[in-house]
Structure formats: C-alpha cells, structure tokens
C-alpha cells in the first residue's frame, strides 16, 4: 500500500524521518502529557513527578541507598541527589551515610513521609479517570513498554 507506485499515500525518500512515522515521538509526547496531567494532583501534595516516583519506590521499600533507588527509577545520582535533598527538606525522607559502608547513602522514609502516603493513594484512581484508555489497551501498552525497556536497557546493541 505504500511504495514506488505513487499512490495517494506515496513513499518518498524522506518518509522515514517524518515525525508521524516515528515511534519515539508519540512515546515522548505521551509521557510528557501524562506527567502534565498529574500536576494538579501532585500540587495538592506539593510534589513534582520525580519526587512522587521516588516516594513511591521508598514507600514500598522503606529504606534504600541511592544506587538502588537509581536502579529502580532509571535515574542516576546526578538527578537523584538534588531530588532527595529536596524531599529531605520537606521532611519526607532522611539521608544518612551507611555505617558499614561510608560510600553509600541510605534514604529512609520518615513518619511524615509515611503519612503522605495516605494522601497519595487518592491520586491513581483520579488519574485513571482522566486518561482515556480501555483496560485491554492499558494491559497491552504495559506489556509492550516493558518489553522495549527490557530490550533497550540490556546490551541489546544493533
């Protein structure tokens, strides 16, 4: 349906670099737009999206060092250090050097951090109501994304 016969939707030498033919671009846009949709809800907790996912990881694990948190969130210390300092400033986490290995910094959720969780549980259902997607599509999307992430983050070189 789309090559050298020159139909209505014809194929050109530059088709592969058209925005509409990229997969990365809707991925990039979708990610940004969803995060933007979170903003009003996250504003209630005075958290940014990055702070929110960091808290999510910490609510589950209670305590992690920066490296582990980074593996969990796919972020490095260059991003996490300022985020964690901000969260510490807000009183939601505590940072301290590991006693048995002074290189590591242990991040632990505080009492106030655990209380924040109570407010946070209201966010996913409200977000869900905002995003126009069927249950089947959500499952499909999650499956495909996880497959891509697994392939891309391993040494899956060309």
């Amino acid at each position: 349906m789309k090559d050298s016969g020159k139909k209505c939707t014809e194929t050109g030498r530059y088709d592969c670099i058209k925005l509409e033919n990229q997969l990365c671009f809707p991925l990039y846009v979708c990610s940004k737009e969803i995060v933007r949709r979170y903003k009003p809800f996250l504003d209630e907790l005075e958290l940014t999206y990055t702070q929110y996912i960091a808290m999510m990881a910490l609510w589950e694990h209670e305590t992690m060092n920066v490296r582990q948190l980074g593996e969990c969130l796919y972020l490095d210390s260059g991003t996490l250090t300022p985020v964690l300092k901000t969260l510490e400033g807000k009183g939601y986490v505590q940072r301290k050097r590991c006693e048995t290995d002074e290189r590591s910094v242990i991040v632990a959720v505080t009492e106030a951090g655990m209380e924040l969780r109570e407010k946070a549980v209201t966010i996913p259902p409200r977000m869900g109501a905002c995003v126009n997607i069927t249950q089947e599509d959500a499952v499909e999307l999650a499956r495909i994304l996880k497959k891509i992430i697994a392939g891309v983050t391993n040494g899956a070189d060309a």
Copy 2:
C-alpha cells in the same frame, strides 16, 4: 504471603501507588531510554533529541512560525526559543519576524539544514535495528499512544 486472607498476588490498601502498577512510569522510562539510545546517532549530527524533532518538523514544512512548530511538537516558546536559537547558531535554520504580522517569528530551514537531512535519513533504520520490538507491537503501540494523546490533550477531564 503478606496480609489478610489473600492469595499469592494479593491486594493491599497501597497497591495502587506501587511503581509496578503504574502505567505512567514505564511510559516515562521507555521514553527516556529510547531517547538515550538515539544519542550516539544524534551525536554524529551534533543534534540533541529536541533539536532533531524540531528539524524533522521543519524538513517537512520548510517554514513555520514558532506557534505552529510548538503545536506540532507539543512544546511552548519557553522551550523552543532557546532550541531555535541554537539551531540558528549552527546554521540550520533562519529566524525572522513575519512581515505581515510582527508578532510571529518565521522559522525557515537553510541550505545547510536541508543538507543535514541527507545524514538524518540514516538514523531511523539504525535505531529500528536497536529497538527490540515486533512490527505488530509497534503498530499496536502507535495506535494506543495516539489514542491516549488525543484524549489527554483535549479537554478530556475526569
């Protein structure tokens, strides 16, 4: 294995704010990781990802004002102005005020910008070889993402 009556994959009060149950999070990670994968290829052209998608839009349209480009890329002037100034500095685009409406800034691809396109066409096929995804999944993914974007960017309030 960890609370009330419950099976193996049991349901807890806080399940909805676990990282693994979010759809936004793999979307965010996938987008970032794919962009990271582009970097070695984009480095050859000395373009960032944002500069690359801006050039993609401009290669197709030759000339656009900042507002149109922003609608196309889902970016505002606060992001685009510095990106376009950088691209102008590299000699790939020219920026000038519209003569009939001095509020608008017209962005036009230069000769050098069009030549860059020749190098850029090699990127998508090489990226495709890097990303571990079947043709069917790619089609599915594109379909779902476009649906979400359409729903989220319109006033699809809860």
